[in-house]
């Protein structure tokens, strides 16, 4: 299927023009790739600026990284962000794995479409709408119980991470060979042994990919966190959003650059995990 497009390529040399090119398309694609990356260049470059301007270059220095590192506030919100993303992504991945097991490896059953719709709901409803709805619900609970802890953020993040964790796990299980499990059962493996020794190892790359995706999504979230958090529960993104209202120094660039690097590393790992899947 994939190779179809290439069937014309050997002949390309004999033709006066390439079959696959369209006028201006390659140029447009180059522009597109440049546009995707160009705005990030000054962001990273000026994080190393020795001066406090974001547009005048005054020499190279790690000054703003040191400043960010020594900023107690930044430390505090970073720890909270990582804690929240870790807890939410682990719970979401476990739940998504169970749900993926429950929606694959059998003939479609009644209600399957409803389950799909429910799992994918956070992807379809605009985030601001979910955020406002959660604010309404949690405000009531906060008033009734006087509990203002992290549980609200953890539940909210877990919920919107589930579809992201679910997608790669589901894709992995969908493509899995069912006969292996049947073979295990034939060899007198208990259902648990079959799961532990056959299903889980085969699904593992998908589960890992789903976990990484959920982690990145939780780490990046702004809107839901902003509306659900109690005072003093800033995460790194909401802290940065707050900083944008003040005079911006390259310190924000430094934090952004680090966050950017973390995302790139995570996505790269995800990319290679997924490639192995295929």
């Amino acid at each position: 299927m994939v190779d179809m497009s290439n069937s014309s390529q050997p002949r390309m040399h004999r033709r006066p023009f390439s079959v696959v090119t369209q006028t201006g398309f390659t140029e447009m694609a180059v522009i597109c790739f440049v546009l995707l990356y160009a705005p990030l260049v000054p962001l990273v470059v000026y994080s190393f600026n020795a001066g406090s301007s974001l547009a005048f270059w005054e020499g190279f220095s790690f000054r703003w990284y040191v400043a960010a590192w020594n900023n107690e506030m930044v430390k505090d919100v970073t720890i909270r962000s990582v804690y929240l993303a870790s807890v939410a992504s682990v719970i979401a991945t476990c739940l998504a794995t169970l749900a993926a097991l429950g929606t694959t490896r059998t003939k479609p059953y009644k209600g399957l479409t409803a389950i799909y719709a429910m799992i994918n709901q956070p992807l379809m409803v605009p985030e601001i709408v979910t955020a406002v709805a959660l604010l309404i619900l949690f405000a009531g609970i906060k008033q009734a119980t006087d509990y203002h802890g992290m549980a609200y953020l953890i539940i909210a993040h877990t919920a919107f991470c589930i579809p992201f964790a679910y997608l790669p796990i589901h894709a992995r299980l969908e493509g899995m060979d069912l006969t292996l499990e049947t073979a295990a059962a034939d060899l007198y493996a208990t259902p648990w042994q079959t799961f532990r020794r056959v299903t889980l190892p085969l699904a593992w790359p998908g589960i890992l990919a789903g976990g990484i995706l959920a982690f990145v999504i939780s780490l990046d979230d702004v809107i839901i966190t902003q509306l659900v958090k109690s005072p003093g529960q800033n995460t790194l993104p909401t802290y940065m959003l707050g900083q944008l209202r003040r005079v911006i120094t390259p310190e924000v660039n430094a934090i952004a650059s680090v966050l950017l690097a973390v995302s790139v590393v995570m996505v790269t790992i995800f990319f290679f995990l997924n490639r192995k899947n295929k």
Partner: protein
């Protein structure tokens, strides 16, 4: 059964019945087990995604409390205020201009963003799909990286670029091309550029997914029949990748319509979009029923877009089989 010779017809029916019955029961157990496995995830999603929407629906029909929150008294003021306003002095009704203009801006900017993303994204998807298969993944990877990097950071990058003291204005001033910085930040244009930038990968990826399946021998056949490049594009390529184009447009349009972070940073207070108006009702504005009604309005708009998509997808599916 064959060892016993030909069994009586009633016996066959009975045993088949029993076999059917046990198969049915086994199937039921299996389905129950599958549903049970999905239940924990569904409970969390109900508590923190679907359920709250229902509560919001209720809240949209209550009265606004004086300091935010609500009073448990039925009222349609929330919905009423979405489009209408009552003059505080002479009690006359008029259309809420501010809300209508924000709604119009949201739709206009989302459509423009979708269009710009298409103009940039379609050739890019085509470019990737026509690379050798082993190179395609790498190009795709370059599209995916910005997709998974923090939206706030990418918006922030655009802001630093177009600020009055930003990179572009500073460069232009220092080259003597302009005396005064060009006001780009806090305009509709800035919001559109920002949204195009952050949602562009969402256009490229689905179009590429369709394009990858495209049989380029059809393109060749088009040329053999003396079609021009443009004709091949319009008559062969575009119709065949239409599902990807529709999916990409929906994937860009929906988040753009509900955008909050990008218009807040790049549009400022004067160039709000629907998402910001909603957020405002739970902040300084403090009118929860109105906020709930506005949220549901946004949700309805999204559902309309999704319905159009589903109908379009079904139609193109039917067209392919027919």
């Amino acid at each position: 059964m064959s060892a016993h010779g030909q069994p009586a017809p009633t016996q066959v029916a009975a045993s088949e019945d029993r076999a059917g019955f046990t198969a049915e029961a086994a199937r039921q157990t299996e389905v129950r087990r599958h549903v049970l496995l999905s239940t924990p995830a569904l409970i969390v999603l109900f508590c923190a995604a679907s359920g709250p929407l229902l509560i919001m629906l209720v809240y949209s029909f209550l009265s606004a409390g004086p300091y935010g929150g609500i009073e448990w008294k039925f009222s349609i003021d929330g919905w009423f205020n979405v489009f209408m306003q009552r003059d505080i002095f002479n009690d006359t009704l008029s259309i809420a201009d501010a809300h209508v203009s924000i709604l119009w801006r949201s739709i206009k900017l989302s459509l423009l963003t979708t269009f710009t993303c298409f103009v940039l994204g379609f050739p890019t998807a085509y470019f990737i799909a026509t690379r050798p298969p082993d190179k395609r993944n790498l190009w795709l990877f370059f599209v995916t990286i910005p997709f998974w990097t923090n939206l706030l950071i990418r918006t922030f990058a655009i802001m630093e670029l177009i600020r009055n003291k930003g990179v572009i204005n500073t460069a232009l001033t220092s080259f003597g091309l302009i005396d005064e910085p060009i006001q780009m930040l806090y305009t509709d244009f800035a919001v559109m550029v920002g949204m195009t930038y952050v949602y562009l990968p969402l256009m490229v990826l689905p179009i590429y997914a369709s394009m990858e399946k495209l049989d380029f021998r059809l393109v060749e056949a088009g040329y053999d029949l003396y079609a021009t490049r443009f004709k091949v594009l319009m008559r062969i390529i575009v119709p065949l990748v239409k599902p990807g184009i529709v999916a990409g447009s929906i994937l860009v349009f929906i988040p753009a319509l509900g955008a909050y972070v990008t218009p807040r940073i790049l549009g400022g207070g004067l160039h709000m979009m629907l998402g910001n108006l909603i957020g405002l009702q739970f902040g300084q504005g403090r009118n929860w029923p109105l906020g709930a009604a506005l949220s549901l309005t946004l949700l309805a708009l999204v559902m309309v877009a999704l319905l159009i998509y589903v109908r379009g997808a079904n139609k193109s599916e039917a067209g392919r089989h027919g």
